[in-house]
């Protein structure tokens, strides 16, 4: 019995393609958690990173917070939050967001800092306001790096969202947690394979996003 055999058995089992424990349901649950956590993390990380990066202040404080956040064990945080808040979406979202904010925040800040200062000086000298400089001069150039930060955050969330299953929520973690409990390795391997596939799909998605949103002038000159 090798891994490929498990994979094959899992995906060819009709039972896994329907119902509340079917692959479509679990994948869409998993995607739902991922998107929600990524959106929340981006909502926190992007504006803070963009503004601090633009003004060049608060870099040390940011890296301190980011290092502290990274040091928090995700699983421990999940258990703690569940104890404090009880079961539900919120105790799952908190550790996922805490996990995703540091890469977004730090890369966005670094991306903005690494923008060549001379176009910024030229823009300011031409009478562009600060918001214009941030959005129309710095952001388009910093975008590849910022997308890189979002991408690593997204991949981390995709793989870590499996913990939702520990606190009785759905997602692909269900297969892994249940499979381990039931010693059903076909299920465990199937779930893990799906998580890996989702991570790869995330990579592809961000690659496409980069092609669509990054100017050819930036893509080629780096």
């Amino acid at each position: 019995m090798n891994v490929l055999h498990y994979v094959n058995a899992f995906f060819s089992n009709d039972a896994y393609w329907q119902g509340y424990d079917g692959i479509p349901t679990r994948v869409s649950e998993h995607l739902g958690y991922t998107l929600e956590a990524l959106a929340l993390a981006a909502l926190i990380g992007l504006p803070v990173g963009l503004v601090t990066g633009h003004y060049g202040r608060g870099g040390n404080a940011l890296s301190l917070i980011a290092t502290a956040a990274r040091a928090l064990p995700t699983f421990g945080l999940l258990v703690l939050m569940t104890m404090l808040i009880g079961f539900g979406m919120l105790p799952v979202m908190i550790p996922l967001v805490v996990l995703a904010v540091p890469p977004i925040l730090v890369t966005t800040y670094e991306a903005m800092r690494s923008v060549d200062p001379s176009p910024v000086d030229a823009a300011r000298g031409m009478g562009m306001n600060e918001a214009g400089i941030l959005l129309r001069v710095e952001l388009p150039v910093a975008l590849p790096m910022i997308l890189g930060g979002l991408r690593s955050a997204a991949i981390q969330i995709v793989s870590t969202a499996t913990i939702a299953a520990y606190v009785s929520l759905g997602g692909l973690g269900r297969y892994i947690v249940d499979g381990l409990y039931q010693r059903d390795y076909e299920k465990v391997v199937g779930g893990a394979t799906l998580v890996a596939a989702l991570a790869l799909a995330t990579l592809a998605l961000f690659w496409a996003l980069g092609r669509l949103t990054v100017s050819a002038g930036v893509r080629r000159s780096n």
Partner: protein, 389 residues
Amino acid sequence: MIRIDSVTKRYPDGTVAVDRLSLEIPDRAITVLVGPSGCGKTTTLRMINRMVEPSEGTISIDGRDTRQQPVNTLRRSMGYVIQNAGLFQHRTIVDNIATVPRLLGWSKDRARARARELMERVGLDASLARRYPYQLSGGQQQRVGVARALASDPPVLLMDEPFSAVDPVVRKGLQDELLRIQDELGKTIVFVTHDIDEAVKLGTMVAVLRTGGRLAQFAPPAELLTNPADAFVEDFLGADRGIRRLSFFSSAGLELLTAPIVAVDASAEQIAARATEDVPYLLVTGLDGRPLGWSEPGALTAGQVDTGRLLPCGRPFAAGRDSLRAALDCAVLSPTGWAVAVDGEGRAAGVVSQAAIGEAIRGAHANDTTGTTGFAGAPDLAAVQKAAR
């Protein structure tokens, strides 16, 4: 007129970048701020568009204090060119140039049409319009920078060491192009450089600043070369300022000798008649009148001169159009010690000796008026400085 009135820039740490500087920058002329690093020339420029706020003193444009209008309105009314062009790498060339018109609320089509017009003006091929900055050479990028600054047709152009980052050949091209554009547009240009040659070449007026942000001298370049205000300015001008100053004297006054010129098909009699005591060499020209080279009269074969045996005559100077500096350079480089003058079509117009050029230089110095007249507004300042010394 841009009037800088006893402006000081002091930073919080106590460093004084500019110290009680007063300058009257004339309209429709190029005023160059030049000096060693740390002399506050860039700070001075940046105070004009309030990229740096003065600690003391006022800067006014046509009598109006620059602090009376919103800072971005002020900046949009001035073109701004910086050292590495500072192009937006995510925008095409045409959109880079259209930046300020777009900020001023022009429609995209109108701004782009204007941008294409400017590309032509600064000598950029129209095929580059849809390219990105990374696809252009440094010199082309700098042309885009100049076009971008000119896009909304501002009366004032601020240029901060715009040509320092390109190689000397490209730099010369850009300088000539700037002078040509200035002839056509007549902008009020404030130009910062650390290169005194560039200052002398481009400036209608040159302000030499010394370390610590004080004005050393403000004068037209010819006067600067003639009467440096002090040892600092003299030192900054370099060792060959006497030679460089000759650039400001026309070669029109030179007396050209036409006697020692023979055509390549000259007969024995013509050669004999041309050879005089004063000129030991004859200049041989082609049938089109262009100079071919020098030869001793005895070495010439009548009817058909062997052009391969001629002494080279080097690069000739254009009579009347080139300066005495060019004429002297030709004479110094010529193996015979004689310079060859040509007319507009490149035909030999005459020859002139080093001695005659020396005579003309002495004459030019005697008649020189650049030290006493000069640009309007300048003599006062120069007089003030001299009185202060």
